[in-house]
Symmetry: D2
Amino acid sequence: MGLTAAVAGASGYAGGELLRILLQHPEVEVGALTAGSNAGTRLGEHHPHLVPLADRVLADTSVESLAGHDVVFLALPHGQSAALAAGLPETTLVIDCGADFRLEDPAAWQKWYGGEHAGTWPYGLPELPGQRAALRGARRIAVPGCYPTVVSLALVPALAADLVEPDDLVVVAASGTSGAGRSLKPHLLASEVMGSTSAYSVGGVHRHVPEIEQNLRRVASGPLRVSFTPLLVPMPRGILATCTARVKPGVDAARARAAYAEAWADEPFLQLLPEGTWPTTASTIGSNSVHAQVAVDERAGRLVVVAAIDNLTKGTAGGAVQCMNLALGLPEQTGLTATGLAP
Amino acid sequence: MGLTAAVAGASGYAGGELLRILLQHPEVEVGALTAGSNAGTRLGEHHPHLVPLADRVLADTSVESLAGHDVVFLALPHGQSAALAAGLPETTLVIDCGADFRLEDPAAWQKWYGGEHAGTWPYGLPELPGQRAALRGARRIAVPGCYPTVVSLALVPALAADLVEPDDLVVVAASGTSGAGRSLKPHLLASEVMGSTSAYSVGGVHRHVPEIEQNLRRVASGPLRVSFTPLLVPMPRGILATCTARVKPGVDAARARAAYAEAWADEPFLQLLPEGTWPTTASTIGSNSVHAQVAVDERAGRLVVVAAIDNLTKGTAGGAVQCMNLALGLPEQTGLTATGLAP
Amino acid sequence: MGLTAAVAGASGYAGGELLRILLQHPEVEVGALTAGSNAGTRLGEHHPHLVPLADRVLADTSVESLAGHDVVFLALPHGQSAALAAGLPETTLVIDCGADFRLEDPAAWQKWYGGEHAGTWPYGLPELPGQRAALRGARRIAVPGCYPTVVSLALVPALAADLVEPDDLVVVAASGTSGAGRSLKPHLLASEVMGSTSAYSVGGVHRHVPEIEQNLRRVASGPLRVSFTPLLVPMPRGILATCTARVKPGVDAARARAAYAEAWADEPFLQLLPEGTWPTTASTIGSNSVHAQVAVDERAGRLVVVAAIDNLTKGTAGGAVQCMNLALGLPEQTGLTATGLAP
Amino acid sequence: MGLTAAVAGASGYAGGELLRILLQHPEVEVGALTAGSNAGTRLGEHHPHLVPLADRVLADTSVESLAGHDVVFLALPHGQSAALAAGLPETTLVIDCGADFRLEDPAAWQKWYGGEHAGTWPYGLPELPGQRAALRGARRIAVPGCYPTVVSLALVPALAADLVEPDDLVVVAASGTSGAGRSLKPHLLASEVMGSTSAYSVGGVHRHVPEIEQNLRRVASGPLRVSFTPLLVPMPRGILATCTARVKPGVDAARARAAYAEAWADEPFLQLLPEGTWPTTASTIGSNSVHAQVAVDERAGRLVVVAAIDNLTKGTAGGAVQCMNLALGLPEQTGLTATGLAP
């Protein structure tokens, strides 16, 4: 327990999940907890499940309140991280769960988020080819978005093994509501969500599109085009991504499975399920696992990869802690589990 | 109330929904109710919501029990309808909610269902181009499957207006659990479903694929290829279909909207939502409506159509009653509503 | 369709349910729709399920906008109804779905709601003994709260038949989220509600307590004491009330069932289920029915009555339309159904 | 990791939860996994969330397959445990999650379960007064039922401090569906459960009644009477118990809170929430915690205690591991957490 970690944005869902994981991490002690409009309130008011921290009072999010820790997690709306990070020593490990430092291309940032590009930090998806090296010893890390996490991991092996055409990827990803955060919006009310499925940000306008493309471009053999449609489904956690791509000639199901099996052979958190078994989001809840299965639809000429994660764990807070472990030289799985909570 | 209707398979979900609708139909009196293994039990044991019919005892499903009605609805597992229909007079309107008489191609039947092809009846999707004429006065009707209903309606206008390439359609359709019927299977238990989304019949192996293709072939300008992935989401009713296709050059969002607006201008149950509004399944529950919206993703080069229905109403029992109305010369909307039950 | 009805508060859940029912009412035409902060918006933005009214624009709630109708339904937060009603002619039927005119005792109003008591209108629960007479021809009606509706109906037969002691009634009522309205509060977010049950207003502090007592006092043979605990359960609609009372000597299950069967024999919307069948809220959804069952626990010395309703239908809007029918001399069931929508 | 543990009934929900917890227990290695009709199948088919054990093949449940472990957990239908336990050495710790050895009174067993009474083992609810001593060093332990766990813990402090009359306890407990196990019954299908609340075993006929009474009798100052009504609510896990009792003269809310605060001061898993905060089941999911709050309803003359647990964790498998720790001399909290998984 030599390390201390602060969490900015502790009253939100991502902040709560970070704390849930850190409470079971053997090397980390939870330090300052900060918030915006919830500063001054008890953590227990927002996260009654975090019993050991219930009486902690949230400080204002500021350089001062976050300073003096080994690790600082930022779980904030985009646009706030740069100023805080600038005020913290370069030796402090700063892990941003927001979007500010994910995109490499300033023009893409400008187009999709608007305003000035804050910069680019090492991208916190260790399972991307070559990415672990970039994270070891890093002191600034940008954690991926939840959709880019699962979609990128689902499609990278197929693109890297040249099984599919990169120019016509079609993804439909069904997400639980916590992905939208604790926003007080009518369409997120329980009365509206329970018993209902809907689509949103349809037509390629979701901000995670450029991030998905940036990841896939690393391994694609040609120009990329991604059609991405997110769905809101009535469950609190989880994403199920259905990812399809036109197969190249001669690619069949066996070859596709073999490519995934090989790519993930040494990955502790990426699970290619046994043949014939398809993922359920429930099996991943609370875990840092990705569950996936592949098929080739020969009539349609498409590979179909279905992958499930917990959006708050592997999709946000678990991924962040995995990066922390890598950055600090701890075993990558410390404090994380591949085992979900079901039913 | 001059007409009598029998329902075979009354203890299942489709049978229950038929009865719910028939109870509010001004021209129909509910006649015999029949079942397989549930014969001899009270309807109220299976459908306590159908208060006026609670004490009706279910007869055995047989030609004898179904004879003597103006209309006979069959809501049975596939393979049982042909023998029953053969025993009923040609003047009786027989409406099959199962798959037996949907496919035109005996080879397709053999491939997807196995066994001998029972034949082909007029296909009960009035909104398909030219189909109303085939249904008026018909005495045998094959009601479409739930997925083919929503997917076909969602894609026909785009194909008919030649907005998209027909050879790379990609559909992901999220369904509530009632679509699987009242089957006692572990993956349909509430403990497994609540909080979880999963995919099934992935890779183009769902039996609704040939039916979707058969419908779309009517209007497609070239060879069809459909990638279809069904999802099981935690809600009792509803399907949300996300349908995408590569747009032809020069097709933009305005032109796509105009094509749908024109195609559906006179359709009482097909609702193109106002621009910027995306469908939710909840809005269609209990109604015979289809809610849809379209977008063109210019980066990805794809049209995206999202459409919602209630799988038990428009997707099965409501569609069946709509066909009955047409066949019998009643106003098409009799006993049906475009208004859903929400929240 | 000689009658016109206005709905104030049309963008809320109660307003939406009123409109859903009125759309299927053969004698009523929907007139003005009004709202508070949502004035100026289209109804379809708030209730996409109400297809035929989607393009109606909401007016400001005011005497002017509501005047000129045969019936005015008020679905407003408490405190707003008195001024509106005062501005409408005495010949207009005004039906208040809020609390303002429910309580007879000014001191109770003052204690539970605060502020000045607006007065008392005929109480819109026709199934209370003697109450139909008070509603026939009435031009001002106060619709009961959702909990008082189901709890009162569940306990009146037992108290009226002197089966139980009135001084130790214990009620726990589980409600879906729409009972809380479309309020943007964190505990009503889907992420918080799905997968979770909680209690609220515990310890006898819910405002429906005095209303329940007022109803039961009509038939109780002695002083009343009611312990009432409401639960929030993860479903959009429905209330299941578990009501228990100490049985008087000699009262057994058969006698209890007989009392309920007799009390409800002629009630179109009150369903005593067959012996051994217990109510489910799902069976009542969208209907104006109450489903109930009774048991006597001889070891514990208590009668247990379990009753289910749809809080928005029988518990609010359906009850309101039932009262409208009575007040205007229409058959009581006009436009209403005893049949629920399930599954 | 010196200890080995076998789990009989590994393919059910209780078995799965035992394994989930044992996987994170630092002192236990998972040994044999056995099943009844699922023997011969892979664990991953039943519990895909238990990634590290996915390829384990289930053995037949028998003395032979269970022998040779330090600990044997039995998660079986009642009636099977006695023969297995008799075949295992007295030095083996056998922990029965079923009902066979819970009741002390053979007549009660005969009445509620039928057949011969197998005997009585030390009762595995450490928080009952004096019970820890009975569990330390024990080699046979009967884990409580899920309802008795939460109801007993909720009411013991009030009875022990003589705050309430013991002869008129009224409990309504809302449970998620996993409490019913993985049974293929129509009322447990997702289509039936989602959107619906119901009551079952009403009228004092649930088998957990005598167990609750046995526990409360330890501390009650007089004859006990318990009215117990279980509800099935649409969530996979969790129980929320609303427990009320007539208060004795002079007992107010402050005194009630003080009694609970004192009784639970040293209990690691029993959380009296801050004043004004009421428990939600979601906050306890996956944890071994009980969350509770108390109120006194002075008008009704009743104490109301609301308590939440995860039925599979504290209510079954977590409680079992807590007992194992006590029996084996390990710190009681080893491998368990007070922190829930939410949202």
